[in-house]
Symmetry: C2
Subunit: 478 residues, 2 copies
């Protein structure tokens, strides 16, 4: 492998591997301002594919897109006490505009509950206006101390859904429904198994009554929170006076939710699937699903390229995203490495003898033997091969995850387990104890999974009775 293509092995330094891969695969580059990133075309295409699927699911569940302003008066953020406490340290603030100092400084939105709450207080009047089911695709800014591309950047892209309901029940149902949409996106499109569950009080969104989350395991055994859905109760309704006249003619506060999924999901895809050769992209989101590498010399160039292009046309017609790498200046071997680095699921090789024989070679990014397949059959075969690739990728991640989680009831075993994976343990539910665990082990409570069985026990650290009626998942996290 050429030197510029090589990445640090995962086993040697997972963080270095990550930084190598995202840059060498041309997903991102660093922007000039500390903590910002540039999404290059290959990385952005991955985001666009993810965005298209998620946008469709958001609309299918009855939501409409809208767009609210980037700038939020500082006073708005102060209206919900927990909210401002959580976000104030991370704000970027505009103090000057149009050549003058502003009377009131403006926060660059870190999230939009406040400005949306303000608008809703104008728009919502009657029970007939409810539910309000909105979503926006936007950039948000949070000034991160330890930025890392896709995972924590000072600016990132996301969607934020915001809904208002007449009853608590409806809002709680919505909270769960949208978490389910995120879980579906992770499993069925990103090929990532996720746990769904509740955040503890300590880890919830600033301003929420409670937060639900999907959590995934990366290939270094750490956790990544890939999407969250918050039940906000009437906290923002009270802060922004969002009321409606109900059918009983009484004036009531609405119940709200919010839920967000960001470019972090790309970080999850990279770290849940990648290996020492680079990325392995889930076919449903991969910008290039199949790459054709023609193998030729000067005298066979024309005939091979012609066959490769004809094949690409048929593959495209079968609804597959295909790319033909016809760059003369690189060798086939160099190209193999590059497309492996870029995580393209399937590779087709075709040389002059293959053209004569009327077949081509198919190779999977997940390994296995090379296959010779007839040129006529190949295009029609690829959609099911991509489906099979998706399933294999998911099963591989699931097996890895299952091997990486262990039930522990003893603090020493707990400490050892979070060095390599997830620990399922009982906890007393006290924030001080949770904080002590974090200080002593660097692990945090990731979630209380919905599908964990009811079980009683005592706190793995302090021995007090368990607070949640089931085990909690702990891990070091991104």
């Amino acid at each position: 492998m050429a030197k510029e293509q090589g990445v640090t092995p995962q086993s040697q330094d997972f963080s270095e591997w990550y930084i190598d891969v995202i840059q060498k695969a041309e997903l991102v580059d660093y922007g000039p301002v500390r903590g910002t990133m540039v999404m290059r075309p290959y990385g952005y295409a991955l985001w666009e594919n993810l965005q298209r699927e998620l946008d469709r699911m958001i609309k299918e569940t009855g939501h409409q897109n809208a767009y609210f302003p980037l700038f939020i008066p500082m006073s708005f953020l102060q209206k919900e006490a927990e909210h401002v406490e959580g976000f104030a340290p991370e704000l970027a603030v505009v103090t000057h505009a149009g050549g003058e100092e502003l009377e009131e400084p403006l926060a660059v939105r870190p999230t939009s509950e406040t400005v949306i709450g303000y608008m809703w207080s104008k728009w919502i009047g009657s029970w007939r206006d409810l539910p309000v089911l909105m979503n926006q695709w936007a950039n948000v800014v949070r000034w991160e101390k330890r930025p890392r591309p896709f995972l924590r950047t000072t600016e990132f892209l996301w969607q934020e859904g915001h809904t208002a309901h007449a009853t608590r029940e409806e809002a709680e149902e919505e909270t769960r429904r949208m978490l389910g949409v995120y879980a579906k996106l992770a499993r069925d499109y990103a090929a990532i198994p996720v746990w769904e569950g509740m955040k503890t009080e300590k880890e919830k969104f600033a301003g929420a009554v409670y937060t639900t989350t999907i959590e995934a395991m990366m290939r270094d055994g750490k956790a990544l929170q890939a999407g969250t859905s918050h039940f906000l109760g009437q906290n923002f309704a009270r802060a922004f006076e969002i009321t409606f006249q109900d059918q009983d003619l009484e004036e009531k506060y609405v119940w709200t939710t919010s839920w967000g999924l960001s470019t972090r999901m790309i970080g999850a895809i990279i770290m849940a699937h990648g290996d020492d050769q680079g990325l392995i992209l889930p076919p449903k989101l991969a910008p290039v699903q199949v790459v054709i590498v023609p193998i030729y010399r000067k005298n066979t160039r024309e005939v091979v390229l012609e066959a490769a292009r004809a094949l690409a046309r048929e593959i495209r017609r079968a609804g597959v995203r295909v790319h033909t790498d016809d760059r003369d200046q690189y060798s086939p071997g160099y190209k193999f490495n590059e497309w492996e680095l870029k995580g393209v699921p399937l590779r087709i090789e075709i040389g002059p003898r293959d053209v004569e024989a009327g077949h081509a070679v198919l190779k999977s990014r997940l390994g296995g033997e090379k296959e010779f397949i007839g040129l006529r059959d190949l295009p029609g075969l690829l959609p099911e091969r991509l489906e099979a690739f998706h399933r294999a990728l998911y099963e591989r991640a699931l097996a890895f995850r299952e091997a990486g989680v262990r039930r522990v009831d003893d603090y020493d075993a707990f400490k050892a387990q979070v060095e390599q994976g997830f620990a399922a343990a009982f906890h007393c539910g006290e924030a001080a104890c949770e904080k002590a665990i974090q200080e002593e082990t660097k692990a945090t409570t990731r979630l209380i999974p919905f599908d964990f069985p009811d079980e009683e026990g005592v706190c793995v650290r302090c021995g007090k009775p368990s607070a949640y009626g089931k085990r909690v998942l702990f891990a070091k996290a991104y």
Copy 2:
């Protein structure tokens, strides 16, 4: 018409009409920060439709999407002298972030030539890397003195294309190609006839060698610049040291272009087509192309709604965006007014007798008789009716525009003409004379149309020889 639905007539006060329409049709509302707007679901859906078509055309012409940071170091903007002069007065500036004062203040991007130039200087090395054909969909901020929704807002949404080429010729071709894409979007999707041409030196983009533009006539006779494409020469290449090694092994500066189209286009759609009843939306972009208004009383409600919904299903199957207005609390008359205000191209009315007779009533937002059409035939008929609506809307705008432009060779006639429409006149090309015309008449040079015939004459104001070899279009502008 119910009072809350009424809009100020265009003839009485066009500006008031505009403000009434955009708010009452629920396209937008004002944000809490001066000059900002909220795009409500109906307005945003219009933008999404426009965005989808333009994005497709941008990709079909070989461009890839990417995303560059919102924050730009102030020092970057200063690297291109004309650029900073043009944009400095409109900048919003972040001075504090993460609880601290920043060492270097950050501009919130007003446009992204500088930050993209900086990244390109890292990415581009060889002639093999060229052309670079990129686009980004983003929000930008320009602190406007006289904000107006869609037309001039402190924050707006747009796409900005940026390309780098090995030769001047290629970059100039690209500049024209993308202007052509904008003209196509305006004509074939927004049903707006536009002139394509050059901006004068005074009106060009700050930092460009020259700017090309599409200009449209609004129904008050004023002009609206709906999209611009800039040939930037080597100005930004020199400012950011964007060089490449050419095939002759020499190190050369690249040639760049940029081109942008924004939510202003929605302002153009509103003002090019609307009437005293409200919006008239071009069918290819309308969020709702056909609205069904069921007409019923309590005892006929079920049978009528059932028929309406069955019809809607068939219409949807025919690929048409249809909405059934089944709100019990409003009368059919109220609904008619509301959907006229919202500019839906075609309306279907269906009552109990229609259900019995197996037909429905079709009515166009452009007027004309009501038609009775059989329920079986209706869905299949609608796509061609929408096509015909598009053509009629375009022809209507074109006829209006042709009536609104006049060749004038005398300054008094010029002054009278720009009170009501566009003046095609000769100009000396001197910035001071152009400025004097603006001060004396409020009209500006809109463009030097590519398709105006070669013609000689003398400046309509100062009598010096014409500078452009053809007439120039002048008008008051948004």
